[in-house]
Symmetry: none
Amino acid sequence: MSKLDEVYSKLTIRNGAKIALVVLDGLGDVAVASQGNLTPLEAARTPNLDALVRSGCAQGRMIPVAPGITPGSGPGHLALFGYDPLEFEVGRGVIETLGLGLVLKAGDVAARANFCTLDAQGLVTDRRAGRIATEVCERLCGLLSAKIKKLGTNEVLIIPGKEHRFVVVFRGAGLEGPLTDTDPNREGLPVAVAQPVDAANAGQKKVAKLVADFYKAALPVLKKEQPANGFLMRGIAHQPQIPTFEERYQMKAAAIAVYPMYKGLAQLVGMEKIEGPQTIQEQLERYVKEYDTHDFFFIHYKYTDKAGEDGKFGAKVKAIEDFDAALPLLLARKPDVLVITGDHSTPCVMKGHSWHPQPVLLHSACSGSDKLDRFTETGANNGSLGIFEAKYLIRLMQANARMFDKFGA
Amino acid sequence: MSKLDEVYSKLTIRNGAKIALVVLDGLGDVAVASQGNLTPLEAARTPNLDALVRSGCAQGRMIPVAPGITPGSGPGHLALFGYDPLEFEVGRGVIETLGLGLVLKAGDVAARANFCTLDAQGLVTDRRAGRIATEVCERLCGLLSAKIKKLGTNEVLIIPGKEHRFVVVFRGAGLEGPLTDTDPNREGLPVAVAQPVDAANAGQKKVAKLVADFYKAALPVLKKEQPANGFLMRGIAHQPQIPTFEERYQMKAAAIAVYPMYKGLAQLVGMEKIEGPQTIQEQLERYVKEYDTHDFFFIHYKYTDKAGEDGKFGAKVKAIEDFDAALPLLLARKPDVLVITGDHSTPCVMKGHSWHPQPVLLHSACSGSDKLDRFTETGANNGSLGIFEAKYLIRLMQANARMFDKFGA
């Protein structure tokens, strides 16, 4: 734990305050001429957000990881949960597995895998096996699962994803990552051997042997398949031991998310997954129901990011307006501290995540007012929160919830 | 010393420039609806500050310690003096002692103490002895002082505070803190034994023995007193060796403060205490008189904080207006660099210190103008200084005083 985290821990008072963190995924955007020089937040009609802002909010912008770094969903959310994404690195295999809805245990080693095509010499001729249909992927994973349930004393889990993608999880004692990829990264080369990143690490050596054994057992099963007669593994790493949200912040947390990836990320830090809600209305209604049973509520809304990824400005505007229409459901039982933000920006013009600091709005009895009329990127540039690293957001929420003792006399 | 501090030191040129740092204690505030959506700075009539701003000032906001952390006066001022409050931690006993006007030496161990009530079994029945009158506290401290002047070769100083509060100082060779409290923190428990925080530390062990000996000598003196027949000690720590202000910044500094706590904090870093002035007018007149004898002037004004602590918006507005009325006295002999700020925020609505970044104004021949009309929290959000950690303020003042050489060619 960093010195500063230690100071925060010592100052923390558990006081039962209620905090809601609403993540509009990929919310941040940039104003470009082709979009009328407006961001989706600026273009959207948001009467409820506007009223919230005028009732007294602090605004600012958050750097997800570090200047210029575009985060994936994992680091983006870890930062929002107060875990420095440069300190708590979670392997891509683990994140992919969470995205498929599998519950991992600390120490589980997970890898992303692709089906691929190999020629008679074992050289990779297509790294994605012609992007086979998802049903084919599911059938092949079924074949592998039926054949390989254990390697030595270690459990093996094989879970199909979309098209050529799947994940492999090794579960056993003393396993550790990370390992190098077996993906040679271009066609014409043989499948690489996964190597321990630290040659002296016993756990990594154990996993290197497991990966080799897995190939020995799996390749014969696929031998007659076309085009998917091989596979490549990437991001082989174990789920790190992460101090739980409750340990760090003295709050019992609930995750009200729809997509498995975000439920998984919340579960990674020990939040309780709330199952059931499928729409933002249902999510906010559920928040009200759970109000008395938890202290911290992580509410995740996917559609802003989806529209950004698709480059659909109108769809992103509508996603924001849909959220705005649902917002009164949450305000009916206002938490002591309410934050609305994104995990990163997903500018429509970029059709993908970006490094642009996402706007953030914080409302509490002592947030004060920044005298802004709306919640927008440009307005947030002038807010009292300034531009800060996302990992500090949780500390500002705790401060506004009066959860910190004074530092020094 | 941090790497960056070393760089600053190497670049520093002593050039006799004059710098004045005016601290309006607890200046920062938040705008809430119940106060007409204005902060005291926004509500106050400040013609002299306004004119100063329009003559060309840089503004910004300062994070006293770290995001969300509410500082006491100690860390708040250490940061303003350029000492990272996370690096230079000063125990509560030391700060309390400074507040009572006692001059400590490096190595002195100080503890905050409370008179308390003990039952026949030695269990604490009232941690504050019914908040006895200050006169009773003074009488009891007198009894203890008369009886206990030394323990072994170590000097013992006992100084009464307000109501049940007093401080105990141990002065001798090789003493060190911190130790755990003897305060059990709730009634019904016996007085705890002060333990070294680091069991292997010889200086701490020495102090643990001293505290035990002090109890042995003092409890009999109080035996027949009612209700104050015992006492509890907290924040037992030694005054750290702090490099002096002049060593660090190549400036001879004067502290023009009224309250003992702030004189003490200034003295802790080696500033010279200027005694005499009781009002802000007298303080600013004295600054003019001392202009030629010092390079750096720390001028402390308490009443903004006092009003904030009392939750009195009108009183805080008036405190600001009173300062504004006196300001021309200072401007009559304008320093090369003038900073007006707070050591932290004390929002009226919170009736206490807070973490909200305090506004800061810096005027010099090269500060430039941020094109703002007034000095307010909302305006400062848009200033050229941005939002930065308070420990850097001294560096910005030095830079504006042209005290830094170029870094690199």
